[in-house]
């Protein structure tokens, strides 16, 4: 029973990070109908910026993170302006391939500067644990869940309460109609990239925290978070969180119980399990659990 609780807590912590990553996909998808394959590399870049500011420049952690976020917002804006803006009106898949190209370039730039060494990002929580009853929890996990919850609340407030958020929702719904009522649709796309880059920085910090370390492989987490975004529905922020938790729990539970109950399945089943779950969900609901069904008009 304690085992199960322990796994559930781990699963929720992992799921919260996946949810945060998936939220980055959703923000860009909602505004531009594109899945950003470079999101993992934005995470990587954000985490390395925090590392550089914290360790190399010696800033305190809670100063390094906001500065890194500000820098990443500029990066997001720059990418949108220089590359994505030129792809407006082109087939979706062409734009997706552009983000794949961006991912490759960003990854190589990061490794060319930072190399392949494992690094410690210098977060204040380290390896400390807290106990909830019989269950041992990393403090980082608790902080992760709390921060993700706060960020999601901020997202909802932004989308519902601010005029920028409402403009983004309008542009996502119908670009032409949004233009007609005077919404600056172009800057909406830039906004979505800036928000995604900021979220990626926060996600990157938690991904690189204990028990993980900061290394270039971190960028591949985006591929683990794809199923989360898809299961929840690509255009649903609440779906991203639900999908993240579902995928996180699935991975951790499969990882925890498969060696014991189904050892013949071999290694790395938990990675495949997330994708299998995703395919099963899609077979029943082709637009994810919370996604909007696309209405086809002739």
């Amino acid at each position: 029973m304690t085992d199960l609780l322990q796994l559930l807590v781990q699963g929720i912590a992992l799921g919260a990070v996946y949810g945060l990553v998936a939220l980055g996909f959703v923000v860009i998808y909602k505004a531009t109908e594109v899945i950003n394959f470079a999101h993992g590399e934005l995470l990587l870049l954000g985490a390395y910026l925090v590392y550089a500011l914290r360790i190399e420049a010696g800033l305190p952690f809670f100063a390094a993170v906001p500065v890194a976020i500000a820098l990443m917002v500029a990066v997001g804006w720059g990418i949108e302006r220089s590359v994505l803006r030129r792809m407006v009106g082109r087939p979706t898949f062409a734009v997706v391939m552009i983000t794949i190209g961006l991912a490759i370039v960003l990854r190589q730039l990061v490794t060319a500067v930072a190399g392949y060494d494992d690094r410690n990002i210098g977060d204040p929580w380290g390896a400390s644990t807290a106990s909830l009853g019989d269950v041992q929890v990393n403090v980082v996990s608790l902080v992760t869940v709390a921060v993700v919850a706060a960020l999601v609340a901020a997202f909802f407030a932004f989308f519902r309460g601010t005029s920028a958020g409402v403009a983004m929702r309008a542009a996502a719904l119908d670009q032409e109609a949004a233009l007609a009522v005077g919404i600056p649709v172009r800057s909406v796309s830039a906004w979505s990239w800036m928000i995604a880059a900021a979220a990626a920085t926060v996600g990157g910090v938690f991904l690189a925290s204990f028990p993980a370390t900061l290394q270039p492989g971190l960028g591949f987490v985006a591929f683990r978070a794809f199923p989360a975004a898809i299961v929840g529905g690509l255009d649903s922020p609440s779906g991203a969180i639900a999908g993240g938790l579902l995928i996180g729990l699935t991975e951790v539970l499969v990882q925890g119980y498969q060696p014991q109950y189904a050892p013949w399945l071999g290694n790395n089943v938990h990675v495949v399990a997330a994708y299998v779950l995703m395919i099963l969900v899609l077979m029943v609901r082709p637009y994810g659990l919370f996604g909007t069904r696309e209405v086809e008009r002739v």
């Binding site: 998808y29 594109v34 899945i35 590359v83 030129r86 792809m87 082109r90 979706t92 898949f93 062409a94 997706v96 391939m97 552009i98 794949i100 190209g101 961006l102 991912a103 490759i104 370039v105 990854r107 190589q108 730039l109 490794t111 060319a112 500067v113 930072a114 190399g115 392949y116 060494d117 591929f223 794809f226 199923p227 898809i230 690509l234 399945l265 071999g266 290694n267 790395n268 089943v269 990675v271 495949v272 994708y275 299998v276 995703m278 395919i279 899609l282 077979m283 082709p286 637009y287 994810g288 696309e294 086809e296 002739v298």
Partner: protein, 362 residues
């Protein structure tokens, strides 16, 4: 008076595989060049061209699916891997000749493609792309874990293409010539590429190909004029997977040894890049794209000693050959998509038009 080459004067001509007498002439010259090539070029260039030919077969397959039918797939590497491991199992473990294992590998790929095809009926656009992405991860898992066939993470040997005593990787004795492995393999794969390209052209210009393109351009309109969406989408997946698996079987045989890492997402992305850089929706564009993608890393490798700031070691920070290759690869995808969406085939078509209409070209 001779007509300008681009002008078509009948529907029969529009549908014809070779539209003009000059086409036949060029094709003849190309065939002669292909036979002469292994005796002119050195092994470095022959290996580039052999890799190109093998990759072209896979790229043509992906182009039939993505370029002609409009179905996005990031799972091409999975089918390529299936082809390679089938070749290894059928040719190595069972000792079958190449005339059996090569088509059998293709058919196995096609069968798996048939199984994946139905997803394309229910899912659209990016949802489909992510499902096919899942195939790559599923493939990596299977290739590592089904050890009896794949040899696990260390990989397995793939046999040379042989029929009885005739070994296509060493054609020297059969032809009574001194031939290296590169020369032999080139002579083996180029005819196969010719068959694959001709077949693809035939598919594209006939009924199924027209159906594919109708689906790509407007799915609902295609359904309205009587295209059976389910049938043709699944057929496109099966056909594309057949090409991929054939290409994989040849690749494995040429490499002699494959590991699961050969068939990761990078390979899928390379195939998509071949289609984009070559030109989506053209068969010869796939070949141009394959050549480009195969050539670049080899050239960078050759030039790396003279490029400043490039270190020769593979570890640590700094600009390594691998990093530089990847940077160029990523940048090329971005540049082509922004500046030249019709790819190399588009550049080629413009050049032809320029010289054909010279001196009145605009």
């Amino acid at each position: 008076m001779s007509r300008p080459e681009g002008l078509r004067t009948s529907y029969a001509q529009e549908l014809a595989l070779l539209r003009h007498r000059t086409d036949k002439l060029w094709l003849g010259l190309l065939a002669v060049a292909a036979v002469a090539t292994p005796f002119i070029l050195d092994d470095f260039w022959l290996s580039v061209l052999t890799f190109t030919a093998i990759a072209s077969i896979g790229a043509i397959g992906l182009n039939l699916l993505t370029g002609f039918t409009g179905q996005v797939s990031l799972g091409h590497a999975f089918f390529v891997g299936v082809g390679a491991y089938s070749a290894g199992y059928l040719g190595g473990n069972l000792g079958l000749p190449v005339v059996v294992w090569l088509p059998a590998a293709g058919l196995l790929g096609a069968l798996l493609g048939l199984a994946v095809g139905p997803f394309a009926l229910r899912l659209r656009g990016l949802y489909l792309a992510i499902v096919t992405l899942g195939l790559v991860f599923l493939g990596e898992y299977l290739f590592v874990n089904v050890r009896a066939v794949t040899g696990g993470p260390q990989g397995r040997a793939i046999p040379s293409p042989k029929i009885g005593d005739l070994n296509f990787a060493d054609l020297g004795p059969a032809l009574g010539l001194e031939l290296s492995r590169e020369q032999s393999f080139f002579l083996f794969v180029v005819p196969l590429l010719a068959i694959a390209a001709a077949f693809a052209r035939n598919v594209v210009r006939s009924r199924p190909g027209r159906a594919f393109q109708a689906i790509r351009d407007r799915e609902i309109a295609a359904a309205v004029i009587g295209v059976d969406l389910a049938r043709y989408k699944v057929a496109a997946f099966a056909l594309s997977s057949f090409y991929a698996a054939t290409s994989g079987a040849l690749l494995g045989s040429y490499l002699r040894h494959v590991t699961p890492a050969n068939f990761d997402l990078t390979l899928s992305i390379q195939f998509v890049a071949m289609v984009i850089i070559g030109g989506a929706g053209t068969v010869y564009g796939s070949i141009l794209g394959a050549f480009f993608i195969v050539l670049i890393p080899r050239v960078v490798e050759q030039l790396s000693p003279v490029i400043p700031f490039v270190s020769q070691t593979a570890t640590g920070a700094g600009l390594t050959v691998f990093t530089l290759n990847q940077l160029i690869f990523g940048a090329l995808i971005i540049v082509f998509l922004i500046a030249e969406p019709t790819g190399l085939a588009g550049i080629w078509a413009r050049l032809r038009l320029y010289f054909r209409t010279w001196p009145f070209s605009y």
